[in-house]
């Protein structure tokens, strides 16, 4: 009986410790992998709200000034109404600012910023010099394939885009 209880105690302790070990670093970078794998980030509102229409684009793809412009014009978000209640909007904006390209929290962000002027606040990730250079071998006809739709559909080719993985091995361009 005593051994049984002790056994249960040990199993429970190991369980709690490993749960903590896996949950603690979820908000920080682990393995930036040469800049093509993004830090795993968690923000419930960002994932829930932004990802209802497109993938939750990573904050590191645009500078803070861009996110401020975007989140300030959600009632006309590229031609669609994507308005949010003020509390949710503020929560998401704070998260985006904290991890933005110019926040210094990711290798990917540093690369994006190399092509963005100090006063620039681009609204489209696809317009940044970094994005254009990275995709210069993709033709216009490829972008407009039915299986892709537009350059905004990262996950059409970057099969692990939703997990923040953008390295070449995970790319498969659909027919």
């Amino acid at each position: 009986m005593n051994y049984l209880l002790r056994g249960i105690g040990v199993v429970a302790t190991v369980g709690v410790v490993s749960m903590l070990a896996f949950s603690l670093p979820s908000n920080q970078a682990h393995g930036d992998d040469g800049g093509n794998v993004l830090p795993r980030l968690t923000n419930k509102a960002w994932q829930q709200e932004c990802a209802s229409c497109h993938i939750a684009y990573a904050p590191a793809f645009l500078p803070k000034a861009s996110w401020q412009r975007l989140m300030g014009t959600l009632d006309n978000h590229f031609g669609e109404n994507a308005s949010l209640d003020p509390a949710t909007r503020a929560d998401i904006l704070k998260f985006l600012e904290t991890h933005a390209a110019d926040a210094g929290t990711s290798q990917m962000g540093r690369r994006v910023m190399q092509g963005v002027g100090a006063k620039d606040a681009p609204l489209r990730i696809t317009e940044t010099r970094w994005f254009v250079r990275k995709h210069d071998e993709v033709s216009r006809t490829t972008w407009s394939r039915k299986s892709i739709g537009s350059a905004a559909n990262c996950a059409a080719c970057h099969r692990q885009a939703e997990q923040g993985v953008f390295d070449e091995d995970t790319v498969r361009i659909p027919k």
């Binding site: 990802a51 229409c53 497109h54 669609e80 109404n81 308005s83 209640d85 739709g149 537009s150 559909n153």
Partner: protein, 138 residues
């Protein structure tokens, strides 16, 4: 002793059931709420009017013709697609039981999508009609 455990267990289960019932909205409860807001009896909500709202084409923001069906497909039991290609789960509760179970979410999407399709917000009566139509799809 066993009696106490049994009683305690039943109370917990009852409590959980009550919590779940209290938190969740349903197509019927939402339709009733919109009828109340519109000042009409639930029986005055109309499925055919709801279907017409779904299918009618309007001049969209960029001049192109647009309706609910443009993204949701003409069959509300089918999955639709957003403009950037992300899947939209079916609108009909028959095909997607999560539909119309969260009042805040329902209000958010009516606000956004009515503005996009109709260039104005929908009235409470229109929202009630819409849910009534989708709720009775078999």
């Amino acid at each position: 002793m066993t009696k106490h455990v049994f009683l305690g267990g039943s109370l917990i289960i009852l409590g959980m059931a009550a919590a779940v019932a209290g938190a969740a909205d349903s197509p019927a409860s939402l339709a009733a709420r919109y009828a109340l807001e519109a000042g009409v009896p639930v029986s005055a909500l109309s499925a055919p009017r709801g279907e017409a709202l779904f299918r009618t084409e309007h001049a969209g923001r960029n001049g192109q013709s647009v309706s609910c069906a443009s993204c949701h497909t003409p069959d509300p039991k089918q999955a639709g697609k957003t403009r950037v290609g992300k899947q939209i789960e079916p609108l009909a509760p028959k095909a997607n039981p999560e539909r119309f179970t969260d009042a805040a979410k329902v209000e958010k999407w009516f606000r956004r999508n009515c503005t996009d399709v109709l260039q104005r917000e929908c009235s409470a009566q229109e929202k009630g009609d819409f849910i009534t139509w989708l709720g009775q799809i078999k």
